[in-house]
């Protein structure tokens, strides 16, 4: 019995190595078959998870309802102002002979795996090279929350490095304030903001967005400031941010194609 088990394991390992190295397409086919099932399972479980977390907040529903209505009203006013600015922008570009910024192409993807490694979290999505996904493509949610960027691609699937991963860095600004810095992933600690000087204006509750001065488009929501303190050297502040990605449904995402 033991001999059979040993032989079984040796054959299984040999087959797996053979599949991984020499029959990559067969491996991808098996993965493709499994990944669509996992996308559906992930989506259903996310719904359950969101439902359970909503139940926890049921006591404060009325207060939250009033707060959200006020926030919606303020956002509608901002939206109206933005539309005017967009029209003005297009008019000025045409007047000066500058090209109009083309609309960003995006691809809807399904998440089927969230891997936890000692360097942070990686997501697996069900679209790859065949679908036009490229390395370093930015991944966001439908509501404009930054999820991460594409780190590795195969024919049928790709891996996303999330904003909480230690590999992640982007330039950010605080909304409605003249404060700029660099956001770096800090795993369970969320996101840390670097190069925020003692004189910079930042407070708990501030919304952090991308500046567009690097590979990430501008205006993507990174998170909300949760803690501000002075560092030991007295030059910079220690700022911690709760990633917005922790509050959204991660079963679907958008890949911004280059």
């Amino acid at each position: 019995m033991k001999k059979k088990l040993i032989i079984f394991f040796i054959v299984a390992v040999g087959l797996l190595i053979f599949l991984l190295i020499y029959l990559r397409s067969a491996g991808n086919a098996i993965n493709y078959f499994l990944q669509e099932t996992r996308v559906v399972i992930y989506s259903k479980l996310s719904f359950v998870g969101n439902f359970i977390s909503e139940i926890k907040t049921i006591k404060s529903l009325t207060e939250e309802n009033i707060r959200l209505k006020e926030e919606r009203q303020a956002l509608l006013v901002d939206l109206a102002g933005q539309e005017i600015l967009t029209e003005e922008n297009i008019f000025l570009r045409e007047s000066l002979g500058l090209s109009i910024t083309p609309e960003q192409r995006s691809l809807v993807v399904g998440v089927f795996n969230l891997e936890s490694t000692p360097r942070g979290h990686n997501l697996l999505i069900n679209k790859g090279q065949i679908d036009g996904v490229k390395k370093d493509d930015v991944v966001i949610s439908s509501s404009g929350v930054l999820i991460g960027f594409i780190d590795d691609i195969s024919d049928n699937h790709s891996r996303i490095v999330m904003v909480t991963n230690l590999d992640f860095k982007t330039t950010i600004k605080i909304i409605s304030k003249n404060t700029f810095g660099i956001a770096t992933g800090a795993m369970g600690d969320g996101i840390h903001l670097d190069f925020i000087s003692e004189n910079d204006d930042v407070a708990e509750g501030d919304i952090v967005v991308t500046t567009g001065n690097d590979t990430f488009p501008p205006g993507l929501i990174v998170g909300k400031v949760t803690e501000v303190s002075s560092s030991n050297d007295g030059l910079f502040k220690n700022v911690k941010v709760k990633p917005a990605v922790e509050e959204i449904n991660l079963s679907r995402a958008l890949v911004l194609l280059k």
Binding site: L45, L114, R119, H157, L250
Partner: protein, 166 residues
């Protein structure tokens, strides 16, 4: 065979069920389970016939490149086996005692094993830059201590009282 099925269940739990239900959190359940196989196993034989295949399956399931998890884990396993040959860390575990005092050394061994694995994983993924690796390891250490300890306790209890051969 039962260990294989538990491993598959843990793989789904860590990569699909828990993240979808509770969101992203620091879990190393699969590596803790596989390292438990080594701690409660027979050294080189367990490493070759159980640990390596399970880690390869994990790599395939999570879309990692070949050897990405196997290299740091295999190296940690070899270090553990070498140390075990001199100090005989898991002598009491093999003798079959099911007392609580037998559980604590196992939990500590698992925690240390997984921290060494994590340290090597970070080192190999930061192009062997020691200062960057150390900085990242301190962040990992702060954010994962509770989760690592909790799962080590649970998996030790599973091995000590459920999966242990009588």
């Amino acid at each position: 065979m039962i260990r294989f099925f538990i491993f598959i269940l843990i793989l789904f739990l860590e990569n699909l069920i828990l993240p979808a239900s509770i969101g992203p959190s620091q879990l190393l359940v699969t590596t803790i389970f596989v390292s438990s196989l080594l701690v409660y196993g027979n050294g080189w034989r367990t490493l070759l016939y159980q640990v390596i295949p399970f880690i390869l399956i994990t790599e395939f399931f999570t879309g990692e490149n070949f050897g990405h998890l196997l290299t740091p884990f295999g190296l940690t396993g070899i270090i553990y086996i070498m140390i075990n040959k001199f100090i005989d860390l898991n002598q009491d575990l093999k003798q079959g005692s099911r007392s609580l005092s037998n559980l604590i050394p196992c939990i500590l061994i698992l925690i240390v094993f997984n921290y060494i694995y994590s340290g090597l994983f970070i080192l190999f993924n930061t192009s062997y830059e020691l200062s960057t690796s150390w900085h990242e390891f301190t962040i990992f250490f702060k954010s994962s201590s509770l989760s690592l300890a909790s799962w080590s306790v649970l998996i030790s209890i599973l091995f000590q009282y459920v999966l242990k051969k009588k």
